[in-house]
Structure formats: structure tokens, C-alpha cells
């Protein structure tokens, strides 16, 4: 299982980094989501992997248990990354609709702060 989780994290991260380095916003957003999936799985694994174990201590018997804290951390991270993905989609849409261009790079020859002032 360790191999499966580790390679999943590695694969997601690699794919995420590849996509983030693309030039258009859509692949970049996909890349950031993949990276956030990777980090969620990674955070989950920081409590060490244990199957079929409740996150509850039993003071009367020696039982295996899973660490509840990383699960709480992952929950927070999922919520935050979900919200952030929504925001970045909206900002990218705004950029695309106002500039008619979904290129990440900015054209530096154009004057900064053009039409709105």
C-alpha cells in the first residue's frame, strides 16, 4: 500500500507540475487542482498508513489506531483548495472575457492599467 500511495502522490505531483508550466490558463488550473489532490493524499499519509483502524484510542487494550489529526488537516486543506480553485476559475474567466486571450503571459508592451482609470 505504501508503494501505491507514494506513487500516486508522485504521479499527481508530476502531472500537476507539468500542467502548471503550460501557457494557457485551463491546463494551469487543472495542474493546480492535481497538485492539491497530491498534497491531500500526502497529508493523509503523514499520519502513517493504517488500514481498518479507528481514530480512537482504547485505554483497555492495545489496538492499532489511525492518527486523526492529518484527517482533520486534509479536511481543511480540501475545503480551502476547493474554494481556491473556484476563485482561480472565476479570475481566469474574467481575464479571458476581458482580454479575449487565455494566455498566462502578459503583453508587456501594452501600458499598465489601461482602460479602467
Amino acid at each position: 500500500m505504501e508503494l501505491l500511495v507514494a506513487s500516486a502522490v508522485g504521479l499527481l505531483t508530476a502531472a500537476g507540475i507539468y500542467l502548471v508550466l503550460r501557457r494557457r490558463t485551463f491546463p494551469v488550473i487543472l495542474g493546480t487542482s492535481l497538485l492539491s489532490y497530491a498534497v491531500n493524499v500526502f497529508l493523509f499519509a503523514t499520519g502513517r498508513l493504517a488500514t481498518d483502524a479507528p481514530p480512537i484510542l482504547n485505554k483497555y487494550a492495545e489496538v492499532t489506531y489511525s492518527d486523526p489529526l492529518p484527517q482533520a488537516l486534509v479536511l481543511t486543506a480540501i475545503v480551502i483548495s476547493f474554494g481556491m480553485t473556484a476563485v482561480v476559475v472565476m479570475v481566469a474567466l474574467g481575464a479571458y472575457l476581458s482580454a479575449r486571450d487565455d494566455n498566462i503571459n502578459m503583453d508587456d508592451t501594452a501600458p499598465a492599467q489601461g482602460e479602467d482609470a
Binding site: V28, A77, A95, P111
Partner: protein, 546 residues
């Protein structure tokens, strides 16, 4: 517990939704509530600063859970100082936003502004690494909204870059926290300090990786070379009041570096030896250099100010990277100075941009040219670090503190030469914008500036529309802050020296935070061994340290 500690986080957290839900269509009421909140925040921050001034560390346990298990807020001299600086800056920036009507150019400016304050203040007060991440996200998500406030294609495009860069930073932050947790089994800063110090030196690979990743995250926030790329485009295209508020955002990164790399990964911790001190100083010096070159090469006034901000952040990080109490005291003094100076510069740049566009080139003389040129002149002097303002004192303190460093020649050379280049860059911009403009219009006489000085106060000339006074009040109050910082340099440096001494002797901090750790978690009769709750998954962890 002292509930005043959480007040600066709760207050904006309550006001912001209130503004969204009930005052949505009432910009005047929004302004009143937002400004009143800022004044209240200053009062709270001042009260906290008074409480922290004698060096006591106060802990606020959220939900009454004791330190390593629950989240804590910690108030010490450093946090109190940063919170006070944030609130003062916020009031001036908010005054400018209201006066220049920037806040009416899009929806929800004031709500986002309050959320941003909540995130920044929370990041300064928290005593927990994961909570630091959460507050980073709060301040970032508010800053995304503020960044694209007012819209426009350029701003949206810069916003995309800003959001994506910071999303990557957040992901890296989580990776770093996960790595550190997997080794130590805790994320409380004070508890981390204890556990990291106890780690066996031969078992340090993972924690070193975690420490470096954490440094990268904070370097992104502080815009340290080579992670500074997001800053110029973002700050130059952000609405001016937002860019001015962002002046404190780079300091959040610098603060986090200072906090984490003195408290947890301190200079004397064996497992991370040679990680930070070897890399941070050269990177900071290169940041100064790149900032100075950018100042000289900018064609747009927004970018000029952005690179000025990068230079000052580089100077600040140089002082931090020396990791001595004297240098840290100098860095803290310079933090206050550079925040106020950078904010003032961004506001002045906006005044120029509103009147004649952002390009640094001679244009017809703008309205209130005299007054704005005075503001520009003073802010530029402060930023470049020339006497008599606090920038000079700050840089002098840093140079003086660098004297014992092995890289003293480099530090002195880079800071001094970059100061010269910055002076040249600002002088060039000021000359082109304010002086050469007069050459374009022959009919203007020499006493023009004095006339326009009065115009800002009262008289309306038919050619120049009357400008609202509030933006000038905001700029002048920031510059007055700089003057006060210069005049009261003695008390301020005494405070920063004491703060630096605290940072390099963190035992009081650690002991105060962890004082309650042995208090039973649940009722005593049910828990013969409540310590078992502290069982963590790491086999590398020291088994019991209490």
C-alpha cells in the same frame, strides 16, 4: 485568558459579513463601518502593544484546549508590533481608498479589506503552524478579490498570475507542513521548537526537507529572489490602495521567516545547521540588486514602486539573514519604516497615474503637481534611505549590525550601491514626471507650484478640478508616521532590541505556551493515562518529553 487577544481577528471577521449582507448597496455606510472598524482595531492593537511591551508572553487557548492539542494565539512583543503596524497602515490606506473613490469602482471592497486584515492579523498572532497556513489562505483569498477590484483586462491577467503563483505557494506550504508533522507529530510552534531540538542529528533528512520547503513558501510571500516574479506585475496592476496594503504582505513572509527560523529552526539547532543562513543572505543581496536594477529600468511608475518594494524587502531579509540580535533589531525597525514608505509610494504613484497615466515621461503639468511632487520627493527619500528620514536610520542600523558578518563587504557594497541606484532611479522618475513637464508648457510661470499648493486646500481654478483632500491626508499621515519613526527612533529601537532579545531566547515563549500541557484533557477519574492522547504516529518522534 485575556479575550482582547482574539478581538483584532474577530472584529473584522464580524464586520466583513455584516457589510456584505446588510450594507451591500450603501457605499457610505460601508465606508463608515469600515473606517470605524479600522480605528477600533488601532485602539485594540495599541492596548495589546502596551500589554506586551514589558515582555510578557500571553497565550489564548481557543476552545480552552491546551497548547499542543488545541490551537493557540500568542501575543509577544513581535506580534504586538506587527499587529499595530498593520492596523495603522490599514487606516491610512482605507482613508485613501475612500477619498479617491477606489472603493466604489467595484463591489465589496470594504468587506474584502476587512477579511484581508483578519488574515494578516491572524497570521501575526497565531502560535500554530497549520493555523498560520489557514490565515495565509484567508489573507490570500481576500487579496485575490482585492487584486482584481475594479476589473480591466490587464488587472485580470496580472490577477491570474498572482493567484496561480500563490496557489502553488499554498500547495508547497501544505507539503512542508505534512513533512514536518510526519517527523515531529506536532504543528504547534512552541511544541515544534521542543521536538526539533530533541531530534537525533543522524535522523534529520526529512526535517531538513521540511524546513527548506517552509523557507521557500515564506520566500514566495516575501518575494525573495528567485521567487519574486509575481510581485512587479501584481503590485503594478493592483488598485493603488490594495498595492499599498500589500506592502504589509511581504512583511508577513519576512515575519514568518523570522518567527520560524528563530523559534523552531534556530541558529543553534543541530539538525538544520547550515540550511538557512548559508542561502538566505546571498539570495537577499541578489534581491536588493535586482530591485535596484528594476527601479532604474522601469518605464511605468507602478513598476518603479514595485521594484522599490523589492529592494526594501531584500534589505529587510538581509538584516534577518544575519541572524544576530542586533541585526534582527535593525530589521524590525526597518520593517516599520519600509511598510509605511512603500505604502506612501504606492499611493503617490496612484495620484500621478490618475492625473497623467502611468508612463514615466514628460506630460502636461498635472493638477496639484506641486503637492504631489513634495509627497513623491519625501517618500522617495525615505525609500532610498537618505537622511533625514527613517530609511537612513534603518539602513545605518543594518550596516552597523552586519559588521561582524563574514560577508560584511558584500552586505555593505550591495546595500550602499543599490541605495545610490535607487536614488538615481527615483530622481530620474521625479525629474521626468514633475520637472520636465513644466518645460512642455511654456506659458506656465515659475511660481506655479505655490499656487497649486493652495489649490489642494481651497481654491478651484477653472483649469484644474478640485481634488478631494482625503487622499492627501492619507499620504501625509503615512509620511508623518515616517517622521515620527525618525523622531522617536530611540524608544522604537529600544523596543525592537528587546524584541530581538526575546526572539533569540525563546524559552519564555515556549514555556508560556506549553505551561498547561499537563492539565488533564478530560475529567481525571476517566483518564488514568491522558498522556496517551499525545501518541503520535511518528516512530522517529521522541517518545515522551514531558
Amino acid at each position: 485568558m485575556n479575550h482582547l487577544l482574539i478581538a483584532p481577528i474577530v472584529l473584522p471577521a464580524l464586520v466583513a459579513p455584516f457589510i456584505i449582507m446588510t450594507l451591500r448597496y450603501h457605499i457610505d455606510l460601508q465606508r463608515i463601518f469600515s473606517l470605524a472598524t479600522n480605528v477600533l482595531l488601532i485602539a485594540i492593537a495599541a492596548a495589546l502593544a502596551v500589554q506586551a511591551a514589558d515582555g510578557t508572553v500571553q497565550v489564548y487557548e481557543l476552545g480552552d484546549w491546551q497548547a499542543p492539542f488545541g490551537i493557540v494565539l500568542v501575543l509577544d512583543r513581535l506580534s504586538a508590533m506587527m499587529v499595530l503596524l498593520t492596523t495603522v497602515l490599514a487606516l491610512a490606506v482605507n482613508l485613501y481608498a475612500v477619498g479617491s473613490k477606489w472603493d466604489a469602482r467595484g463591489a465589496n471592497f470594504h468587506a474584502l479589506f476587512q477579511f484581508q486584515l483578519m488574515g494578516i492579523i491572524g497570521a501575526f498572532l497565531t502560535g500554530d503552524a497549520f493555523n498560520l497556513f489557514v490565515f495565509f489562505e484567508v489573507l490570500l483569498i481576500a487579496s485575490y478579490g482585492l487584486m482584481i477590484h475594479g476589473g480591466g483586462a490587464r488587472r485580470f491577467q496580472a490577477g491570474v498570475q498572482y493567484v496561480v503563483f500563490n496557489l502553488l505557494g499554498s500547495t508547497l506550504f501544505l507539503f512542508a507542513l505534512g513533512t514536518i508533522y510526519s517527523v515531529t507529530g506536532t504543528l504547534n510552534l512552541a511544541d515544534l521548537a521542543v521536538r526539533v531540538a530533541e531530534l537525533p542529528a543522524e535522523d534529520s533528512a526529512l526535517i531538513r526537507v521540511g524546513a527548506v520547503m517552509l523557507l521557500l513558501v515564506f520566500a514566495i510571500k516575501a518575494s525573495l529572489l528567485p521567487l519574486h516574479f509575481w510581485l512587479p506585475a501584481s503590485y503594478a496592476n493592483a488598485p493603488a490602495p490594495v498595492a499599498a496594503l500589500f506592502a504589509i504582505m511581504t512583511k508577513v513572509g519576512a515575519y514568518s521567516i523570522l518567527r520560524v527560523y528563530t523559534l523552531i529552526f534556530g541558529p543553534d539547532v543541530a539538525v538544520v545547521e547550515g540550511l538557512v543562513d548559508n542561502w538566505l543572505l546571498p539570495a537577499a543581496l541578489l534581491t536588493i540588486a535586482i530591485g535596484a536594477i528594476g527601479v532604474l529600468g522601469s518605464k511605468d511608475i507602478g513598476r518603479l514602486m514595485s521594484f522599490g518594494a523589492i529592494t526594501s524587502v531584500g534589505t529587510l531579509l538581509t538584516a534577518i539573514a544575519l541572524f544576530t540580535p542586533e541585526a534582527t533589531a535593525a530589521a524590525l525597525y526597518y520593517t516599520v519604516h519600509s511598510t509605511l514608505a512603500a505604502a506612501a509610494l504606492f499611493l503617490v504613484a496612484d495620484m500621478v497615474r490618475e492625473r497623467q497615466g502611468g508612463e514615466i515621461a514628460p506630460k502636461p503639468v498635472m493638477a496639484q503637481s506641486g503637492l504631489i511632487s513634495v509627497l513623491f520627493f519625501v517618500a522617495a527619500i525615505a525609500t532610498a534611505g537618505m537622511p533625514p528620514l527613517s530609511g537612513f536610520l534603518g539602513k545605518l542600523l543594518i550596516l552597523d549590525a552586519a559588521r561582524d558578518s563574514t560577508l560584511v563587504v558584500w552586505v555593505w557594497a550591495v546595500i550602499l550601491i543599490s541605495s545610490l541606484i535607487t536614488i538615481m532611479g527615483f530622481a530620474r522618475a521625479g525629474t521626468l514626471i514633475f520637472w520636465k513637464s513644466h518645460g512642455l508648457t511654456q506659458d506656465r510661470s515659475l511660481e506655479e507650484p505655490e499656487i497649486e499648493l493652495e489649490q489642494a486646500d481651497q481654491a478651484d481654478a477653472p483649469s484644474t478640478p478640485r481634488a478631494p483632500a482625503l487622499p492627501f491626508v492619507a499620504c501625509f499621515s503615512l509620511l508623518a508616521g515616517l517622521a515620527a519613526l525618525t523622531l522617536f527612533a530611540g524608544p522604537v529601537t529600544r523596543y525592537t532590541t528587546a524584541t530581538a532579545a526575546d526572539l533569540f531566547a525563546p524559552q519564555a515563549y515556549i514555556e508560556t505556551v506549553l505551561a498547561n500541557r499537563d492539565r488533564p484533557v478530560v475529567e481525571p477519574d476517566q483518564t488514568p493515562g491522558d498522556k496517551t492522547l499525545d501518541l503520535d504516529a511518528g516512530d522517529t518522534t521522541s517518545e515522551e518529553n514531558h
